[in-house]
């Protein structure tokens, strides 16, 4: 056993972050450490890296008890860490970052050429052939992440902790990192892998350990666990509750709801053919379909982000204008777009400013929201949506995907809209935030808000929707209600032109 932790406990005023936790790591394995936010993962890691001092328990490294008091001490012992946000200096060269603090010296001066050669050689063993004299910041996050890993391995060399290293990477970059991780495993390192992405956990790890509320829940071989089991371990019974509630709510007939909005003949050539849609008060409408089927286009047309060539929208009082987002917002609409980073958040602005942005825009520039009111709104939503940020003044771009999504949701909740469109609200966010957002959708509809959800995850749509519209080839092809909302029917509607038995819209 490379690393063995027994009876580890750590308390903070008011909470017991770790309670008698056991954890083992073998040399030559990748071990996933899983759990929701607040489950105790980061406390465990901080105890390992010396950032926290444990209250009780024992940590054995190669059979010897260790008591790291600082990150540097942990490093010297052989435990290195790589974080989600690259923890290096982007304005220095790759070589400088890699050899920081142990540059080859001659007469007290660093030797540029020797440094460069050493850096190049090191990185080549990671399959990276790059110009090490360029600024680290000029390379992709994946390359930076690999440099960070290389640095951590060189400094420590026994245990490597990867704390959500893939959170901001795309699929190809994730593959690059995984190759590096596997080669390190084959070299005999013990690797602890922290991630919220279950696919990656199944793809990469040999064993997994789940923590919940500071307690050790289970340690198993990854290959012997199935996905639903794993989620249950992590969430307890939270997700089941969501589905339970949804099913009970779905009892009432959709037609019994008072009508809130009615879209007629809305369409735009090349994007989506004219469709009708009626929206009931407090109803959740799911929009299912493949990527590029016209589902996002439908949403954008309803919000005025894409100009409709035909069609009208009306509510109980008559026609409403939805030709621009401003008009749609004035009509009580909200829209959380699919691509959070480019269309949703304003990255350099603070959490507070992002939350009040739509409200401020609708009040007009001449009537600024008082600073105290902004602060109150921001703090309220940070609390209510459990947005994890150090404070309301932190730049949104620095938050994790799930928290960014919550900020965008908060922006619209601050407007108290009557019709909210959510395009892929749970994509790319961790499993805990996922459940929270689904719960939130239910809370909001209970208060009378109507919501349209677009999602690629059918289970999610089935769990929350009162009605599901299926979009295929830029047409709304089926509308499913009640008992028809099940996986098979939806999949059949999406796949086969003639198999759908819902009424075409």
């Amino acid at each position: 056993m490379l690393l063995s932790i027994t009876g580890l406990s750590k308390s903070f005023p008011g909470t017991r972050a770790l309670d008698n936790v056991t954890f083992n790591l073998e040399a030559g394995e990748v071990h996933a450490l899983l759990g929701e936010n607040g489950a105790g993962k980061s406390t465990l890691i901080k105890c390992l890296t010396g950032a926290y001092q444990r209250d009780a328990g024992e940590i054995l490294l190669n059979g010897q008890a260790i008591h790291p008091r600082s990150t540097n001490e942990a490093q010297d012992l052989g435990i290195g860490t790589v974080y989600q946000e690259v923890n290096l200096l982007p304005n220095l060269s790759v070589a400088q970052n890699l050899l920081f603090g142990r540059e080859p010296l001659r007469f007290g001066m660093t030797r540029g050429r020797a440094m460069r050669a050493e850096a190049e050689e090191t990185l080549r063993t990671y399959g990276l052939d790059i110009d090490v004299t360029r600024d680290l910041g000029s390379y992709s996050v994946a390359v930076q992440q690999i440099v960070a890993i290389a640095r951590a391995v060189q400094l420590s060399g026994k245990v490597l902790i990867l704390d959500e290293p893939t959170a901001s990477l795309d699929a190809e970059e994730v593959r690059m990192i995984f190759e590096v991780v596997r080669s390190l495993r084959d070299r005999g390192l013990g690797i602890i892998f922290v991630s919220h992405f279950l696919d990656q956990v199944f793809d990469l790890t040999d064993r997994l350990t789940v923590l919940r509320n500071g307690q050790h829940i289970v340690t198993e071989r990854t290959s012997s666990v199935d996905r639903m089991q794993l989620i249950e371990h992590m969430l307890g019974h939270q997700l089941e509750e969501v589905e339970e509630k949804a099913r009970s709510a779905r009892g009432s007939e959709p037609d019994a709801r008072p009508e809130l909005l009615r879209f007629e003949g809305l369409g735009r050539r090349g994007d989506v053919e004219p469709f009708d849609l009626r929206v009931g008060q407090g109803e959740v409408i799911g929009l299912a379909g493949l990527l590029g089927s016209g589902r996002t286009e439908s949403a954008e047309i309803m919000f005025g982000a894409r100009a409709a060539q035909s069609g009208t929208a009306r509510d109980a009082d008559g026609a409403i204008a939805i030709d621009t987002p401003r008009n749609a917002i004035a009509a009580g609409f909200g829209f959380a777009p699919e691509d959070r980073k480019t269309d949703g958040i304003v990255a350099d602005l603070s959490v507070r400013e992002n939350i009040i942005l739509a409200l401020q825009a609708s009040r007009g520039w001449a009537r600024p929201i008082p600073r105290s009111e902004q602060k109150r709104l921001a703090d309220m939503f940070i609390y209510r949506l459990d947005i994890r940020t150090s404070d309301a003044e932190k730049a949104v771009g620095a938050l994790s995907g799930g928290n960014q999504q919550k900020v965008v949701l908060a922006r619209w909740l601050a407007m108290n809209p009557r019709f909210l469109i959510l395009d892929e609200p749970t994509r790319g966010i961790d499993v805990g935030a996922h459940a929270e957002i689904l719960l939130l959708i239910q809370e909001m509809t209970a208060e009378g808000m109507s919501i349209l959800v677009i999602s690629s995850e059918l289970d999610e749509l089935i769990a929350i929707s009162d009605r599901v519209i299926v979009v295929r080839d830029r047409r709304h092809v089926a509308e499913l209600t009640g008992a028809d909302i099940d996986r098979d029917t939806i999949v059949r509607s999406i796949a086969a032109p003639d198999a759908a038995d819902g009424k075409a819209a």
Binding site: G101, R326, Q360, P368
Partner: protein
């Protein structure tokens, strides 16, 4: 308030150091005397001569905050100056003349803003059109000559003084403060920053980005019109060929020295104004020091480079690096440095 002070501290420190440097070369640099009831001295000259660039920097700050750039302000100075001189020599009242000049500046801004926000031309290209064509327009108005006038009321705006302080030296701080209030006491500042950082997301949040962009270019045109008026009033004539020539570059430099990112977003008008004063202090300092004129541009470039390097984030990182690399090797200070570097 303290946040603002913190933001402009680097520029303020740079200005103080610069003044100290020049005082060594030219000891009387900070002397201010009173002659004929008006304050006289190099420092007063800087406040007065820097007025054009400072005014331009106010508008330019806003344009750059939206991730744009306005290359046409120098040409707008020429146009507005020409219109002002034309108006006053054709016996329009001073009020009418000034209104015509300001209207021309706003119109020029409307043109730029429309090209950028409605038609979607890149700002650098859109404003380049007026930059090249504008001077021609100004020449048409002055018929290619220096349009001289002798209206003392108008000239007062350029070379008169109020409570002993030259009028231009009062005009730019007042303009700067009014704009800063308009930005920070309303939501305009926030909305401009949001549009500059992410125009699409801002539009989807209901911000009228198109209108805001046009307004920002019009503000820039307005500031350029004011600069054109004082430039013309100062020399009692409109010189279409030379008025405001290359000033757009000084204005952009002022904004950059003010620490505002050309990538848009967060901005500080106060810091840009300090940037403008830094540039003018260099210019005036060079003139006073009495170097041969061949060295003017080299000295200015050298100082500007030094200032920009001192303000660069990379230098901060390198400094941290060396500090720890050389002095804290034994204590494994590297990660410590990394953490500080992240701050």
């Amino acid at each position: 308030m303290s946040r603002t002070l913190l933001r402009i501290a680097p520029q303020a420190i740079t200005l103080v150091v610069l003044v100290a440097l020049i005082s060594v070369v030219f000891p009387g640099f900070l002397d201010i005397s009173i002659s004929d009831g008006r304050l006289v001295g190099p420092a007063i000259d800087i406040l007065k001569r820097g007025a054009s660039v400072a005014l331009l920097a106010v508008g330019m700050t806003l344009v750059i905050a939206t991730r744009g750039i306005d290359l046409s302000v120098g040409a707008i100075i020429a146009i507005c100056g020409a219109i002002a001189a034309w108006g006053i020599t054709n016996d329009y009242s001073l009020g009418t003349t000034l209104m015509m000049a300001v209207a021309a500046g706003l119109l020029a801004g409307l043109w730029n803003g429309t090209l950028v926000a409605v038609i979607g031309i890149q700002p650098i290209v859109a404003t380049l059109i007026l930059m090249t064509a504008g001077r021609g327009v100004a020449q048409l108005i002055t018929e290619g000559r220096i349009l001289t006038f002798s209206n003392d009321q108008f000239a007062y705006l350029g070379s008169g003084d109020l409570f002993g302080i030259p009028v231009p030296a009062l005009l730019w701080p007042v303009t700067g403060v009014l704009f800063a209030i308009a930005m920070r006491r309303t939501a305009l500042g926030l909305l401009i920053e949001a549009v500059g950082i992410n125009r699409r997301a801002s539009a989807l949040a209901g911000i009228n980005a198109t209108l805001l962009l046009i307004a920002v270019y019009m503000a820039s045109g307005f500031c350029a019109a004011l600069a054109g008026i004082i430039t013309t009033a100062d020399i009692r004539g409109a010189d279409a060929n030379n008025a405001g020539l290359w000033l757009e570059l000084d204005a952009i430099l002022a904004v950059v020295i003010g620490g505002n990112s050309l990538m848009g977003g967060r901005f500080s008008i106060a810091a840009s104004l300090l940037g403008a004063m830094i540039i003018q202090t260099i210019d005036t300092g060079i003139l006073l020091a009495g170097f041969p004129s061949e060295y003017n541009l080299v000295i200015k470039a050298g100082l500007v480079i030094a200032i920009l390097i001192l303000q660069s984030p990379r230098l901060g990182a390198t400094w941290t690096y060396w500090r720890y690399a050389l002095f804290s090797r034994q204590r494994g200070g590297a990660t410590q440095a990394v953490r500080e570097g992240q701050e």
